[in-house]
Symmetry: D2
Subunit: 350 residues, 4 copies
């Protein structure tokens, strides 16, 4: 009953096996290993993007920060949701890598920005000219930090607004697999066909040990990416171990299967919670995270039994009468079992 | 009838004379000129702060950015009002000088933050720990961008909240003189006695050609300031010309006299506008700027006669019926005359 | 016969096994896993430094850059050898992480700086004061980029000079194990007992997949390190996989055994080369790398047989008469076998 | 007898008068004043460069740092002489503004780099690729820090090497006027006709209070310059006072007349020193600075009489027998008189 975060789940067995296989003999360093060659081809195939530049790094913060830094100048504004990971959870890494930049924070229900909100934010001119930061780029998180998703049409509407102002678009896809599975679309439909220029293609939260790909659909910025990655200390000498993980991930749709499992677990959990008297959802459950509220009595039982999850917002207290509801975040991963879910539901039903 | 900005007014005659006097023979460079020695003493005297470190730079953006950079680390948040100059008008200079940092934007009427808003913003913890930016410092603009002021008691209440969280406080005093004159307090009461650690003591908008002092009340950060100033290209070799301007400014209360003149002109303008049928104030007039609304007919007359000022917000149109009011910003300076004001009032009265 | 670099060798079997063991169930993220707890204890024990702060990152560039950044301000000079990895192989990462800084390049035979050279460099004042970068810190690479080592006495002499000027000292120990084994000293003798303040304790080149520890002997800078690591995107969510590698490394002296094997292979190779007519050493062989020169005929035979290594300097041509010597770098690792070495020697003997 | 530096001389009377004239009424801020319009035209005319972008800043460090930052990326190397002002006297400002970058230091007599040295430095590849800083740009200081100059042919030979590697070229012309006067060439011949892409066109050391122009011959980088200038805090609101100084400077060849006066004074001083028994020149006198050596007895007489100048290198002692020579730097400016020179010569002759 571990729902604290998908970043606490183990790596999938296929991934461990791939690493073991990669551990034979000598391999060229720094991404020149033959596995990476295959990874690049496979990712281009998956995304129907034969020209895309594909790179691996080991953390999502690195993927996002580097992806933003190659498109947004030090004096550019990045339009993102107020709850975006780049704003809330990266301790200023994007600004560090961009050498400046400013995140302009948009509101929007369920961690999704709206076309109207984006148009207003980008259209705002203030005392235009050299005194302000310049319009820079758009960054969408998909799946969002609230467990919702943008569908391809949503993405397209937002990137079209950015493009109309001459701005490129980034997708933070730390949970990209969960979003794609949920939307039932192709990776291409969710990204470049919907106007995305650069994607952080997450693996770590979905069964890898620690690998994210950055997919740059127009490779003009590829060399700059390589230099920035190196300067950031994110170019691995023994790169084959990143390559091997990612190869396993994109082989035989492992990434989609793992995400499917996580999403199904979340759906089961979400539906189960809704059947608890006094419970309700805080955000719709569209990917692998459930944001819900249920009576404190159920919380107490679950916690006594060792269930791991966060109250959401964090700084809430369990104190209070049994029937009074309290909201929480429950994140499922590829390794969440039906038994975990069912046992948890039993507990909170009191 | 020039009310576009106080940064468009000329330098006071005393300042020109001081520069001419300073232009005799050779002088030690980089702030080692004897005039600077006197400036330092005089500013310490004015602020009743015999230990304060005092430095000169030529722009307000430099003063603010350097003042923030010596107190706020690259991973620190600066709490400021949403309309602060450091957010809206410096193209990211504070973040550039801090090597990161993030401005946390607070709301509040008339460009003033409230104790409640500040407490809430600083108290917010989110997913506490290493993932977030850390609590950094407070920055107040006084007089504010809306022509209002914080009185010493207001300042003290806000800095006390910051201090309770271990945070230092900065005052952007680009219009410090106008605020002090308006509040009728001493410079010390408005700053260190009210908890301010570092002040941008503006001169440019109030009769100098281009000089701002940075007053650091605890001199422990003085050497770091000097290094950052040099690295920013803001250490003048022929420093005597900055010193001379500032000496004139702090001699015989010139700075207070000039600000008094600007404030009185604004008050006259403000009261005059209020007597125009259909006119109203957008913000209280507490310093040298008037934010008011009056009928478009009056705007048309004023503009035809060559009056210079900005609609506020900027992107408004003059189109519309004569009686329909339109809001504007009018900034007075030491050189605004009663005749200017009265002629302008006559015009907008239609 | 792979001598191109130790970063191309596989991971040791113990390391793979540790990763597999770590892959059970859920684990707290971001370094809060129980394995990391044990790693910290064990490294403190090995270094006889019960207070030391210990952190893991995945690349040597990250370890060095972060280690330098917590000690050297943006306006500080880092004194290092002209051939140091931080100067030659990190694409400016140290300067990026320090937010400035300047590497002052010292000469010295065999990639070792001398006390005289260091004293002269630190003692140099130029136009002292605010116009110059300030004296910052010392950085030693041990083992060096030329396969030589500093013994504890050498380290102590150099750090004493730095300390006399108030400067801290860093050791880039990407090949720390090789240096310690070669010197026959304890880890403590090579580091804090010899005046080192912060160590990049390398694992990647010596049998890990990609882990380096940063050991900060005085933990006062620990929190700053954590913030900088996060901002750099180097805090792993699934940290247990770094922890597991490092635990295997420091268990049962694996790190020393692997390095011993690499050093012995290099010694065997070095001695063998010296017995080739026309061959000579370019640098003494003191760790796991051999810098030697031998006739082009031998090079041709080795290359035809598929031996992998670099000419050194790089931009040399194989063209020329058979007897004319050409210099090269040969790096051994834990996985270099006697057979590899002997077969190679046979080939170059012609 | 003030020869410590040209940055200690006063402003020329024409400059003060221009400032007084500019101090009439209101003027548009931020470089939109009508004087700047004329300055731009006049500088384009002087440089025969009708498309050039022309900007003003107040310090040489700002001019150099911004000029480099628009051409050199954070991962680029700037090739400059070891004694360049950007290396020795700006406390890392260029690296701060470039967001990285590295100065590659070239040797060369009399502070002049040689074509051979430059070719070797740029041609050096090391472990080419992503691991190193990339080739960035060339920066020449003219007149040099040793009082010598590059003639147009020298400049052209060096920029041609840079260009052959695809690199742009910067000229630090803090003493550009002295170099042009000495070479007897046109400003165009010394700059864009000789391959210079961006010039720091100094005024401060040659009779202004504190103004330098940056002349960008290809205006494609103009907008980026404006943003970087603003972010650096170097955009003046009351810009007219910079404009006025520069207008005086480029009117009626004032800049050339002032530099001619300084150069003539240096020549007189240099020749006079050579006639002193035991004296010799350390560097040829080609602009406004004299580097010479003469007996300690003469030094003592000069210093007792109050002559101001620096021993060169700085850290020399006056102790020693009267006849033993000691080297020094003597800088003349537009305000150095024949009487000053002659009196000084009389003193050191003993």
């Amino acid at each position: 009953m571990f729902f604290a975060s998908d970043n606490s789940s183990p790596a999938a067995p296929e991934v461990l096996e791939a690493i073991a296989r990669a551990n034979e003999g000598y391999a060229m360093p720094y991404g020149n290993d033959p596995i990476m060659e295959r990874v690049r081809s496979r990712i281009r195939e998956i995304f129907e993007a034969p020209e895309a530049a594909v790179y691996l790094v080991a953390t999502g913060t690195a993927a996002n920060s580097l992806a933003l830094a190659i498109f947004n100048p030090p004096w550019g504004s990045v339009y993102c949701h107020r709850n975006a990971h780049i704003e809330e959870d990266e301790c200023g890494a994007p600004e560090f890598y961009m050498g400046g930049g400013k995140l302009v924070l948009l509101d929007g229900d369920h961690a999704r920005m709206t076309p109207e909100g984006l148009e207003k934010a980008i259209g705002f001119t203030g005392r235009a000219g050299v005194h302000n930061l310049q319009k820079g780029m758009l960054s969408l998180t998909n799946a969002t930090e609230n467990g919702t998703i943008y569908r391809p049409g949503d993405v397209a509407r937002l990137t079209a607004i950015a493009r109309a102002h001459g701005l490129p678009s980034h997708m933070d896809g730390a949970r990209f697999a969960n979003a794609v599975v949920s939307a039932g679309c192709t990776p291409a439909e969710m990204t470049w066909k919907a106007g995305i220029d650069v994607l952080s293609f997450g693996g770590t939260k979905n069964g890898l040990m620690g690998v994210e790909a950055v997919v740059i659909f127009d490779p003009a910025k590829a060399w700059e990416f390589e230099l920035r990655r190196k300067r950031g200390g994110h170019l691995f000498s023994k790169h084959r171990y990143l390559s091997a993980q990612m190869e396993a991930y994109v082989t035989d749709d492992l990434w989609l299967r793992l995400a499917g499992q996580a999403n199904r677990a979340a759906a089961r959990l979400s539906q189960g919670i809704l059947s608890v008297p006094g419970a309700s959802l805080v955000h719709p459950t569209e990917a692998n995270a459930v944001f819900a509220s249920w009576p404190r009595g159920g919380h107490r039982k679950a916690q006594e039994a060792g269930a791991a999850y966060y109250f959401w917002p964090f700084n809430q207290s369990l104190d209070g009468p049994d029937h009074e509801p309290l909201s929480a975040r429950l994140v499922c991963s590829w390794s969440t079992t039906d038994q975990d879910v069912d046992r948890f539901l039993e507990l909170i039903r009191g």
